[in-house]
């Protein structure tokens, strides 16, 4: 039902795009993919949630683990294209204290590159 639709590297940033409900399964899929890139030396990750309109707190919690991991290697996790309710949810949880949120992928890449 939901999945990672695309992963690419743009100017050293790993961009992961998703589709559908960001639940436990999709959270774990993101985490697994990120793990491989971390093992290969990447440290900046951009998650594009344009096609994910809904999240649950279990999926979001898995991202906290990713933030933690990236802190250990001086890396960074950022988001773009958040539906208003997802941005609000991340704000309430405090995720946005640790992760910048950009309106679009282009703007995120421009700032981070």
């Amino acid at each position: 039902m939901s999945k990672v639709t695309n992963t690419k590297i743009v100017e050293d940033i790993v961009v992961i795009a998703t589709e559908g409900y960001l639940n436990k399964d999709l959270g774990e899929e993101i985490q697994n993919i990120a793990q491989k890139y971390i093992d290969d030396g990447s440290s900046i990750f951009l998650i594009n949630l344009k096609d994910s309109k809904i999240v649950n707190s279990i999926g979001a919690s898995i991202l906290i683990e990713l933030i933690e991991q990236l802190q250990d290697i001086d890396g960074q996790l950022v988001f773009c294209d958040l539906a208003p309710i997802i941005e609000k949810t991340f704000k309430i949880m405090g995720l946005t204290k640790y992760c910048k949120v950009y309106p679009t992928e282009d703007e995120a890449v421009k700032e981070l590159a």
């Binding site: 809904i54 649950n56 707190s57 279990i58 933690e68 208003p84 609000k88």
Partner: protein
């Protein structure tokens, strides 16, 4: 007095079935002319409430969701016949306490529900839990 129009849903405990609840709430929200923001907040709160009923109540039975429509507010009840819990004993999560500590990363559901809805109430004992949450039409929360 007329009975308030009510949509009732009975969901089996199957992965992702909470999406039926959110799809229903979206139609109800449109019918009530709630804003897109309000509709999103209701959906998010419902997801968390359903997941809790599915996961923590340990019920083997279905979960019931009632949408009670009135002019000024939408009242939603999420009912399970599970083991119950004491909501007053649940501590408020803080991300600072979770990052780089051994604290479990989860535990956000109840806090999200309270932040996203205008009022939230639990009735719970060993026969199950009824979560009642209200979204007022004229509120920004």
């Amino acid at each position: 007095m007329n009975k308030a129009p009510t949509v009732e849903l009975k969901l089996p405990i199957i992965k992702d079935m909470e999406l039926i609840a959110t799809q229903t709430s979206e139609v109800v929200s449109k019918h009530m002319s709630l804003t897109d923001d309000q509709s999103g907040e209701i959906s998010m709160a419902l997801i968390e409430a359903c997941i809790n009923a599915f996961e923590h109540s340990e019920t083997k039975n279905e979960v019931y969701i009632h949408f009670i429509i009135s002019d000024n507010e939408l009242t939603i009840k999420v009912i399970d016949k599970g083991k119950g819990f004491d909501a007053s004993k649940i501590k408020i999560p803080e991300i600072e306490n979770k990052i780089n500590t051994n604290e479990r990363k989860r535990g956000w559901g109840l806090m999200l529900i309270k932040e996203l809805m205008d009022s939230v109430d639990f009735e719970s004992d060993h026969t199950g839990t009824t979560l009642t949450m209200v979204k007022k039409k004229d509120s920004n929360e």
